[in-house]
């Protein structure tokens, strides 16, 4: 890889051991993907929940944090993805002191490096939305696909250690979705029905994701006559990235790099569009259904809820009571939680017997252990991304609209 003077200095260790480690890691990945050089980034979004980090990851962070301040500080604004513990809720969820201690150690290390603990996967809605053409190092599949596709910014999936490395060097290896020629469409889908709910949008993302299964595929979606909302695109993108490891999509007439079909595909001949029908969406729900079963836990999370989603949930539970045998959990960002406290949404949800968790996301909360501790197996959610992930943690997931999830939580069984 071609290196600038400062990159050579980092590699030689002249700017400290953390930056030497960081650029060496980035060069290993850059060479793997045939990157010719680096690109400077303006923001880093860092995924580092303690379930993923484990003891070894936290020790690694502490070693970096023990270096001198000049050598350990991040070089660009760096914010965090959801954490594994909400210190206000972890005892109610039967998370352990060991989990909480690990979390405290990780937070202390990040703070020493100058990382801002935003603890959110919806930073593009709540912290600082990137702009078209801005190069980033984003480390959550949902945030990456949203900023690439909806905002026209440029990032690859930069997983935890890679995002940390980008924060320390201020750059990322220049390959994949940093390059204009890689951002053109490769596959086409035609929506034949308008999704009616957030879970419908997630289902459509899941259907397309299941058909692609490659990071290097860029689906182009046609047939959207009315612009979706930010939350609809959030659920669509999160599911698409989760089911298909996809990092970029175009929606003709909606997203900035696809004003029309021709420009979505660039010089490529557009392929024939595969239809997505109402029957496809029903079949997708059918693969995550179990009417009549006792319901253990209802989760609204993955991605964290926006203020608008929290308002919807508060309205649905208001004046009702969650069944004593069912837990209802909603996860949002610290900023949105504060707004919900102020606007009475938290009181409405918790008054009905639900739990509002802040700065966490369900599958990043040691989901296997809390499932076992609480006796949770049958889980219901309106998040297609969550039902995709959570089966591997020993849960039996059901996908449904937010309304049906709430009705089921009140009934204590899957309706």
């Amino acid at each position: 890889m071609r290196l600038t003077d400062i990159e050579r200095a980092m590699l030689a260790g002249k700017l400290g051991e953390p930056r030497r480690w960081a650029i060496e890691q980035q060069m290993r990945v850059g060479r793997f993907f045939d990157a010719k050089d680096f690109v400077e980034v303006t923001q880093v979004h860092l995924m580092a929940d303690t379930e993923s980090l484990g003891d070894s990851g936290v020790r690694f962070l502490e070693e970096l944090a023990a270096e001198s301040e000049a050598e350990r500080r991040v070089r660009v604004p760096t914010v965090t993805d959801p954490r594994g513990i909400d210190f206000a809720a972890y005892k109610r969820l039967k998370q352990t002191e060991r989990m909480a201690d690990l979390e405290r150690r990780a937070i202390a290390a990040f703070r020493a490096m100058g990382v801002m603990m935003t603890d959110t996967c919806i930073n593009y809605q709540t912290i600082m939305p990137p702009v078209r053409g801005e190069h980033l190092a984003f480390g959550d599949t949902g945030s990456t696909i949203y900023v690439n596709s909806v905002l026209g910014a440029r990032s690859n999936f930069e997983g935890g250690p890679a995002a940390l490395a980008a924060a320390l060097t201020g750059r990322a290896p220049c390959y994949g979705y940093h390059l204009p020629e890689k951002r053109r469409g490769t596959a086409a889908f035609a929506l034949k029905t308008r999704p009616q709910s957030l879970s419908d949008w997630g289902a459509v993302g899941g259907i397309i994701g299941r058909k692609l299964q490659s990071y290097w595929q860029v689906p182009v979606i046609e047939g959207i006559e009315e612009a979706p909302t930010s939350d609809e695109l959030k659920h669509f993108g999160a599911a698409l990235a989760s089911f298909g490891t996809v990092a970029l999509f175009h929606m003709v007439g909606v997203t900035p790099e696809a004003p029309d079909r021709r420009r979505a595909f660039g010089r490529r001949a557009p392929p024939r569009a595969k239809p997505i029908t109402a029957a496809d969406i029903r079949a997708f729900y059918g693969s995550y259904g179990a009417k009549g079963d006792k319901l253990d836990v209802v989760v609204f999370s993955a991605p964290q809820l926006s203020l608008v989603e929290m308002q919807s949930l508060a309205g649905l539970v208001s004046g009702r009571r969650i069944h004593s045998g069912t837990t209802l959990l909603a996860a949002t960002s610290p900023e949105i939680k504060a707004a919900c406290d102020r606007m009475g949404f938290t009181a409405a949800i918790e008054g009905a017997g639900g739990i509002v968790a802040s700065g966490v996301c369900f599958y990043q909360m040691h989901a296997r252990e809390i499932g076992e501790a609480n006796g949770w197996r049958r889980l219901m959610s309106n998040s297609a991304k969550l039902v995709n992930i959570i089966g591997g943690y020993g849960y039996e997931p059901v996908l449904a609209t937010m309304e049906r999830c709430v009705d089921s939580a009140v009934a204590g069984k899957v309706l």
């Binding site: 890691q25 290993r28 990945v29 060479r31 793997f32 993907f33 995924m47 580092a48 929940d49 379930e51 993923s52 980090l53 484990g54 003891d55 070894s56 990851g57 690694f60 480390g139 959550d140 599949t141 690859n156 999936f157 930069e158 997983g159 935890g160 250690p161 890679a162 994949g176 994701g209 299964q213 490659s214 990071y215 290097w216 990235a241 989760s242 089911f243 298909g244 490891t245 996809v246 990092a247 599958y363 990043q364 296997r368 991304k385 995709n388 992930i389 089966g391 591997g392 943690y393 020993g394």
Partner: protein, 136 residues
């Protein structure tokens, strides 16, 4: 029998020799594994219930999720990692995780690697050369 050599793009990590565990399915450490018991735990996965520790995992590609980038190293330090990972098509997360964990990792084979190797075969993975040698 003469060893067979499969060619891929140069990869990441050390040269290793081990026994293959193969499936025409995808991979994510978070979605698919019980990282405490060391088995595939996702019921829909073709390797469901199979132990993966110390095996050369041969799969189609990566699935969604970024957690694998941290998890491979953590699994390695607890002695619960695969020996190597071979995919037809990687995503950045797998490469970043392999680099962080120093795990042998290759992708971009000439042909479908899950069809070229059978479970139980002994293979030598050489990331610098970008080759996998199947012992005869």
């Amino acid at each position: 029998m003469k060893p067979r050599i499969l060619h891929a793009h140069p990869g990441i990590g050390p040269k290793v020799t081990g026994v293959a565990l193969v499936a025409a399915d995808y991979f994510s450490a978070r979605y698919d594994l019980d990282r405490i018991k060391g088995v595939f735990s996702r019921p829909a996965h073709k390797l469901y219930g199979q132990p993966y520790v110390g095996r050369v995992l041969v799969l189609l590609g990566a699935k969604g999720g970024v957690a694998t980038s941290w998890m491979l190293r953590e699994m390695s330090e607890r002695g619960l990692a695969p020996l190597a990972l071979l995919l037809n098509t990687a995503n950045p997360i797998m490469a970043q995780g392999a680099a962080f964990a120093n795990l042998a990792f290759l992708d971009r084979f000439k042909g479908d690697v899950t069809a070229a190797i059978r479970t139980g075969e002994t293979v030598t993975v050489d990331p610098v050369a970008g080759t996998v040698t199947l012992e005869g």
